[in-house]
Symmetry: C2
């Protein structure tokens, strides 16, 4: 039972892949119910998932799986279930949130170039968020701390080829497809005032979910090395803009909007 | 007929190799007679070469070769020949002199790191005096101009491994041997006042020659990347010190000193 508003948005994202129900549900709880005492009533969750185009059986399977994985917990309150993140699920959501909800980087941010000795600190550099652009040659944010005994030089205006060398090439088409989807919904969505809290919860879940599955696959690029035309950066600008224009509704407003009239 | 003074010096350098007579003669003319109107009389040249341990036949063969190569020219003046650099020989000597006679670099000099795109400007960087330390990664003096489209970053205090990566490894033993020879003559040579202009001409020829054949085989290292312990740098300090303490004699003083008494 997709609404007039959410149907085109669901359709815009449908072709992007990665829409597994349990993963969508992680995005939903992470965006809507990450607070310590937040819980989503069963009927509200069903209404959201239905708008996302998820059949009731698939919804139940995903809930079951996430409970087994220790991500979600469910409690009966009277005749209905309340679903919430476990402490572990909340911790993992909180760990990912800074990347997912980060403001778009400033393209004039400092960056640095780091060289390691042969058979040196490659793994430690990757773990610290540095990005390999050549063998033994990494880039990172200006303030990142390179392991001792590396050559760490503050960056200057980089040439185009270095900017491109930093981009995660395997995600090129995924980011371009996401950019097209985000652009299409941005130009066609009604203003937030014209949407119900339930519609906005669904919209935000789709945005966060599709952004999350790409942005968490690679380290954050230093702003000073980002091409203004890079699709990943264009996506970031649109995600930031959309989430700001469609602010997170309260759970009680979503519940009210999903109550049968 | 080596003198008491030059014999130990000739011996100190004898084991270093690279003492071909024509090459020694190039060093001699480059040091003693690079001026436009400078010429060395045949008997003076013979006296110097004899002190260098060169037999008269070898002296004649070298002169013949250098004339054929367009490096030297000889004119008869009365009964004696005068030998001088050709314009080409003078131009090549002048081109090499800045490297040979350069003051030792300041170890706090600026340096820069340069990255090129794949299949990029490697050859142009080498021609411009940059030194490859890794594939596509070069270092150079702070003021050197890297080709456009390279990443050129001002250097900071480098780790030991980068300093070592810049050193010409193939010359390691040659520089160490030269350092031992220079050190031994520095500690045993009489003061300049106790030497004849002829002895000093011979001494300077040996120093310049043995230094020249190593220093011209590699680009000048940026001061900021030089290990204070690198034998090439230790040689440079000694060469600079010795040439300053045994200043170039005039050709006429050398001629007077070589005249039979």
């Amino acid at each position: 039972m997709p609404s007039d508003v959410t149907a085109p948005t669901v359709a815009a994202f449908a072709g992007l892949g990665g829409q597994r129900v349990w993963s969508l549900m992680i995005s939903l709880f992470g965006d809507l119910a990450q607070g310590k005492d937040d819980a989503i009533d069963g009927p509200v969750l069903s209404a959201i998932m239905a708008l996302l185009g998820v059949r009731p059986e698939a919804n139940r399977v995903a809930l079951h799986r996430l409970r087994n994985d220790g991500w979600l917990q469910s409690h009966k309150v009277g005749r209905i279930s309340q679903h919430s993140l476990t402490p572990q699920g909340r911790a993992e959501s909180a760990a990912a949130s800074p990347r997912i909800y980060a403001a778009p980087p400033d393209l004039s941010d400092d960056w640095q170039l780091v060289l390691t000795e042969a058979n040196g600190a490659e793994d430690r550099l990757r773990e610290a968020g540095f990005i390999a652009v050549m063998p033994r040659t990494f880039v990172g944010h200006g303030k990142a701390k390179a392991p001792e005994d590396c050559v760490a030089l503050p960056g200057t205006t980089p040439p185009e080829w270095l900017r491109r060398a930093v981009e995660p090439t395997s995600l090129k088409e995924d980011y371009e497809a996401l950019h097209r989807a985000l652009l299409s919904i941005q130009t066609t969505l009604p203003k937030a005032e014209a949407l119900s809290p339930l519609d906005i919860a669904v919209l935000r879940c789709l945005i966060v979910h599709n952004w999350r599955r790409l942005v968490l696959k690679h380290p954050a690029l230093p702003g000073g090395l980002i091409r203004a035309d890079w699709a990943g950066y264009r996506c970031h600008l649109l995600v930031d803009d959309l989430l700001a224009h469609y602010p997170r509704p309260t759970l009680s407003d979503v519940a009210k909007a999903s109550a049968p009239s």
